[in-house]
């Protein structure tokens, strides 16, 4: 048997693959990154780039918080075009019932070390004067941030390359073989480990994993500096984000450093085409207008769609495929991050490397192991 050309092959140079490549290269591993199109060109490019700590489950919290801390540590090294902004998130309550949930949310975050501040109607209005009059309040989580993710992915790849990682681009992996990958130009790469970090494309290379495409729409406005100052998300967001079947929209607006605003979000399953669905876009924007009535008159310059890699329990798959029935012991997964891949990329990379090197991790890995998926789906 020939000597492997690499220690690890990472399939996909989205933000997750890029982070995994850097984490492996930092350990001195010989890394190959294989990317079909462009760095950060999939969900990384389509998404908002919100670095957010989530509270919908303990496991989600653990991974997002762990990752958030890693981003904060990295922040000073990030080049200007990554546009790291600690703008914070305001979870906006639409009514008194949701305001009650704000209080629980604050307790959840603060008891786990994440500062959070309840905004009453007046302070919410002061913080974001363009929000609709009469909103009862919200929760400010100041440590959340935003980045421009395609440049972040490129930065991570460059950092990995400076530590010896090799980038194969454009190179489409057509098959994961027993000891490596086959590429569309007919060549093969071999390695000790293979990591499938191909996001919503990952099931085409590793059939049977429970990752589904979940389509989303986004829109960007012209430049209106200061129109919103925080990432604004409706508190009801989780309701829509959590449905694994239906179509949904939720209010989610992000200020960019350019003064532009990203307006989201929509979720659809079972849709393959990339085209804009005008009715879905309209629902999403109507929802946003409901919270920010003044945006109706602002100029919209571009819309697009993308596919999130969604799993049934909303948690990513990080770890060996082997623990699954018929799985392979040299094949690892780092996929299924849904709408949180930008945030959780750094945490994912840390957990992956710990598993490759068989050492303990800073947070428990069990909730993310691919082997858990089958038992938990219907739990």
């Amino acid at each position: 048997m020939s000597v492997a050309s690499h220690d690890v092959i990472i399939i996909g140079a989205g933000i997750v693959g890029a982070a995994c490549a850097l984490a492996c290269a930092r350990e001195g591993l010989r890394v190959a990154i294989v990317e079909a199109e462009t760095i950060g060109g999939g969900a990384t490019a389509a998404g908002m780039g919100h670095l957010v700590v989530m509270d919908d489950s303990e496991a989600q919290f653990a991974l997002t918080y762990f990752s958030q801390l890693l981003w904060q540590k990295l922040a000073t090294d990030l080049p200007a075009d990554v546009e790291f902004e600690s703008c914070g998130t305001i979870w906006v309550a639409a009514d008194e019932e949701e305001l009650a949930a704000v209080k629980q949310k604050k307790v959840f975050y603060e008891s786990r070390g994440v500062p959070a501040e309840i905004l009453d109607a007046k302070s919410l209005h002061e913080a974001e004067p363009n929000l609709r009059e009469g909103l009862p309040g919200g929760l400010l989580v100041p440590s959340d941030a935003v980045i421009y993710a395609p440049c972040a992915a490129r930065f991570l790849v460059e950092q990995a390359q400076s530590r010896g990682a090799q980038l194969y681009l454009p190179a489409v992996v057509t098959e994961i073989t027993a000891d490596g990958v086959r590429i569309n130009n007919g060549s093969t790469l071999s390695a000790h480990w293979i990591v499938n970090a191909a996001g919503s494309w990952s099931p085409s290379l590793t059939p049977g994993i429970e990752v589904k495409k979940r389509k989303g729409h986004l829109l960007i406005t012209d430049r209106y500096p200061g129109y919103v100052k925080h990432q604004l998300v409706e508190l009801g967001y989780l309701k829509s984000a959590h449905s694994f079947t239906s179509e949904s929209v939720a209010f989610n607006v992000q200020p960019r450093r350019t003064g532009q605003m990203l307006i989201g979000s929509s979720r659809q399953f079972g849709v393959e085409g990339r085209e804009i669905n005008s009715a879905m876009l309209a629902r999403m924007l109507s929802r946003a207008e409901d919270f920010l009535p003044g945006i109706a008159n602002l100029s919209a310059i571009r819309s697009w769609t993308g596919f999130r890699a969604a799993t049934p329990d909303k948690l990513p798959l990080i770890g060996p495929h082997s623990a699954r029935e018929g799985g392979r012991d040299n094949l690892f997964l780092a996929t299924g991050h849904e709408g949180l891949g930008i945030t959780t990329s750094l945490g994912t990379a840390a957990l992956l490397v710990d598993q490759l090197l068989e050492r303990p991790s800073q947070i428990p890995v069990a909730p993310y192991l691919p082997s858990r998926a089958r038992e938990n789906v219907h739990a």
Binding site: G40, D222, R274, S278, A279, L281, A296, I301, R302
Partner: protein
């Protein structure tokens, strides 16, 4: 804001010569016909302002025909989305309107190509057609020193117009060479009317130096353009100017055809003999099918109008005339093709995308549009790549990406209002 819904047998987008001709012919057959156009008056770029004046004699009969026809002109209306087959969404002075059609004729025209060179973003360096449009809307250039530079017959028309309106046109710099232009002149000579037109133009231009094989390499000035450096052969020199009016021939407006799914060939909309695109019930006429100028636009518009109205016989009778005009168009394209030296116009530090301040050096780090866009945001500003796209295609050979709605910036509410009755009710549910 109120939404309106309208329904037509034949809908035409663009009220330039091709669109006007299409509307006249389609409505001969008693159908409900409308043109949507983003300008206040029909006429497009070439006949802008001609509806109220007799200055453009060849336009007059078409304005008369259009007025006599029953075609509706929806002015100030801009189609920005194609939400479903047979429907367009447009923004209009009265708000968003949904326009339904049985047949659609795309007459979206062309725009000037800009090539970036050091200093091209200085104030008063402006598109040649753009400066003409400004003057048409009342902007004064009396006594101002103007250099007109770039490529194409438009430069002559613009120079003549600017001069007529008091501009001190110092020079017309045409990048194409004399030998090419002479071959084009010979092609012209076979068409009597063209010869008369160009002769008339020549009289108006008398005394303005016309240099072929000459192009701008830099614009200089403090806060605004004060001079342009020109090159001809090995020679470079400075010409003082208050305005530098530039345009390097034309590029077709294919955003709406692409949004509808029409196939392109070599950058132009593919059509059959009846001007039908690869999408059934969608026709295209004028510059988007190939830059050919006024006569070709008019005849293609007529063919498309007849064909869309089901009168293929009337359309067929115009094929020979179209063939003649196409020969002229082909000669035009050869005469004004861009010379290789223009590839080196921009310096590394020259902005290619002026919306997002992206330099050539930053673009060169990438291998394709998509990567460059994601990493530099080139072409992602408010013009959506309409200016830098053709320049990048010429300089780096990158083909444009897919087109998505809105094809023009529109208000958020224009996109939020697109809700059909069915989804409206489910939205109500969702909002509780």
């Amino acid at each position: 804001m109120t939404s309106a819904s309208r329904n037509f047998d034949v809908l035409i987008v663009g009220a330039g010569p091709a669109g006007m001709a299409a509307a006249c012919c389609a409505s001969e057959n008693g159908l409900r016909v409308a043109i949507v156009d983003n300008n206040p008056q029909p006429g497009g770029q070439i006949w802008r302002g001609a509806s109220q004046s007799s200055a453009v004699p060849e336009a007059a009969p078409w304005y008369k025909k259009l007025a006599a026809s029953r075609a509706q002109v929806l002015s100030g209306t801009e189609a920005y989305d194609h939400p479903a087959p047979g429907k367009l969404l447009a923004s209009s002075p009265g708000g968003v309107c949904e326009i339904s059609y049985a047949k659609l004729i795309l007459c979206t025209g062309a725009r000037e190509r800009f090539l970036p060179f050091p200093g091209w973003t200085l104030p008063n360096v402006i598109g040649a057609g753009g400066l003409q449009a400004l003057v048409k809307s009342g902007f004064s250039i009396a006594g101002k020193k103007i250099v007109v530079a770039g490529s194409g017959p438009l430069l002559l028309a613009v120079a003549a117009y600017l001069r007529e309106h008091g501009g001190d046109v110092r020079l017309i710099a045409e990048q194409s060479s004399w030998p090419r232009l002479i071959r084009f002149g010979l092609a012209l000579a076979f068409q009597k009317e063209k010869l008369a037109q160009s002769f008339a133009l020549k009289c108006q231009l008398a005394g303005i130096p016309y240099k072929a094989g000459c192009w701008p390499v830099a614009a200089e000035g403090n806060g605004r353009v004060e001079s342009v450096t020109l090159r001809s052969g090995n020679k470079t020199w400075k010409e003082a100017c208050d305005y530098l009016a530039c345009g390097f021939f034309l590029v077709p407006n294919v955003e709406l055809p692409l949004l509808l799914g029409c196939e392109l060939r070599a950058g132009f909309v593919r059509v059959d003999d009846f001007q039908q695109t690869t999408i059934p019930e969608v026709y295209c006429a004028g510059e988007p099918t190939g830059i050919g100028g006024l006569d070709l636009s008019l005849v293609e518009g007529q063919i498309a109008g007849h064909a869309a109205a089901g009168n293929r016989e009337a359309a067929r009778k115009l094929f020979r005339e179209r063939d003649r005009s196409r020969k002229f168009a082909a000669a035009l394209g050869r005469a004004f093709s861009l010379r290789d030296e223009l590839h080196s116009l921009p310096a590394d530090a020259t902005f290619i995308c002026r919306c997002e301040d992206v330099t050539l050096a930053r673009l060169r780090n990438h291998s394709c549009w998509r990567a460059a866009k994601l990493q530099t945001r080139c072409g992602m500003g408010s013009c959506q790549g309409r200016i830098c796209g053709p320049a990048v295609e010429f300089l780096l050979g990158w083909k444009p990406e897919s087109v998505r709605p809105p094809i023009y910036p529109v208000s958020v509410s224009s996109l939020a209002k697109n809700i059909s009755i069915e989804s409206q009710s489910s939205l109500q549910e969702e909002l509780r």
